[in-house]
């Protein structure tokens, strides 16, 4: 003990005085730490143990695909043989946990508007090859998808009928006319983009009389039954379609 006393006497005065604030700071730190750090901090690691409870007590909103079978077995039966068999009910109908708790109080919505199906089925070059896609501008515009397709059992999609998909009225008229076998693009030069952005890329109308003359001129190398005109004298200052309607040309 004498030794320790000896050591204490050896410590210079200024160091002894400095020791007081040092001890005070340490004490303040210990006290503050006690109040500021949550009691369960560091129980399992460098975190609040109850934080895990906070996270896992969050409400579940998507109830999972198994639950639907309990009540909607008729639809599940149809769907499980269809192309949509791997599409979860909640992918279209939204989170269903509240609905499974109270089926009558919380009804689920079905997306009936035209905008929903294209989220998956609109043509995008980035989509994997072979995935069924449509160009909604030309695919029966303004018609709801579900008016033709059953979302629970969608049928093999057919490729859009080129011009007819949008210009059905003209196509029908032409089908009754003498021009039935003249394809649209024979007269209308159409950029490919027209199918995608129809108003930005318009098809052309014939501006040359010679286009009609390819069949209707006196010396045209075409079938004999086709009516002929003398291109030099027949309405020479006009383009043919200014007088004739090529989609339903007059018989005589």
């Amino acid at each position: 003990m004498n030794r320790i006393k000896g050591i204490r006497e050896k410590i210079p005065d200024q160091v002894k005085r400095l020791l007081i604030p040092v001890v005070l700071v340490i004490a303040a730190f210990v006290v503050m730490r006690h109040f500021l750090v949550p009691s369960d901090f560091g129980k399992y690691g460098h975190y609040r143990a109850s934080a895990i409870d906070d996270v896992i007590s969050l409400e579940i909103k998507y109830s999972g695909h198994m639950v639907c079978d309990d009540c909607h077995d008729d639809i599940v039966e149809v769907k499980k043989m269809s192309y949509h068999r791997d599409v979860a009910c909640e992918a279209c109908h939204g989170p269903a946990a509240a609905h499974t708790e109270d089926p009558d109080g919380n009804k689920l919505q079905a997306p009936r508007e035209r905008g929903y199906c294209p989220l998956c089925h609109e043509y995008l070059p980035s989509r994997p090859t072979g995935f069924p896609q449509i160009v909604s501008e030309s695919h029966n515009p303004r018609k709801a998808c579900i008016s033709c397709h059953d979302a629970h059992d969608p049928k093999t999609p057919e490729a859009p009928k080129e011009c007819k998909a949008c210009h059905a009225e003209i196509a029908r008229t032409k089908a009754l006319s003498h021009h039935i076998y003249v394809s649209c693009i024979r007269c209308h030069e159409t950029p490919e983009e027209h199918k995608v952005r129809p108003r930005d890329y318009r098809p052309e109308k014939p501006i040359r009389r010679e286009l009609c003359g390819e069949c209707h001129a006196k010396n045209a190398p075409a079938a004999k039954a086709i009516p002929r005109v003398d291109m030099a004298t027949h309405g020479e200052r006009y383009v043919c379609w200014q007088c004739h309607y090529p989609h339903l040309p007059e018989v005589d």
Partner: protein, 257 residues
Amino acid sequence: MDKINIERREFLEKLIFSLLSLSCPGLLISKEKNKEKTLVYEGGYVPKAHSWGMGIKINRCIGCGRCASACKKENNVPQLPFFFRTWVERYIVFEGGEVIVDSPNGGVDGFNRNIHEKKMLRSFFVPKLCNQCANPPCVQVCPTGATFKTDDGVILVDSKYCIGCEYCIQACPYGARFLHPKTRTAEKCNFCYHRLVKGMIPACVEVCPTQTRVFGDRKGRASPLVRFMRMHKIRVLKPYLNTEPTVFYAGLDMEVK
């Protein structure tokens, strides 16, 4: 060499002092180690028994954005177009090597069909989310211990303890974190941890219509993820950072950074 002039009594005193002071830290650490370690959550979930991971098949993703939409609903993520726990990116690689990456509203509202002047070489979608790194930089930089790794490998955020300093948002090399505009705390994907502990799969995996996302336990022999990892050639994002992500991509393009 000088002869050390020391009495036996003095020598013993010094010896005992020095030994005590040397063993002090060791004793404290051993006390620390004896703490409770096997953790069992309510409902009997043992995190040590699991090691969660996600597999993503790039060739299957159609970019419908249902995952991002479901995630927002499940986790109350703000509907504003800058906050996502998971989102879908579209990559367009043009002839000549130029690359465009876009993700309008995270893909929730779908993608528009860009008609670019240049000729497209290839294009694909990449769903992204928190990679739940085994070596997470975000946990390293958190000054408060508000973000941490659980025993099953999921990184959680303690939103009551987070001070919103945004260090973790800066640190994340995958841009997976954001600051919640209301609570001003960090937010990110946690594999829908509240669903995992109840035996369910994350909401994004649940609604994915093409089974692009595969979820499972890497410790389970027969889990879908183990099968995914056996059947595919897989890659992780930014492997050179040694973050060791547990989100694995099959068919990932070299342009995905």
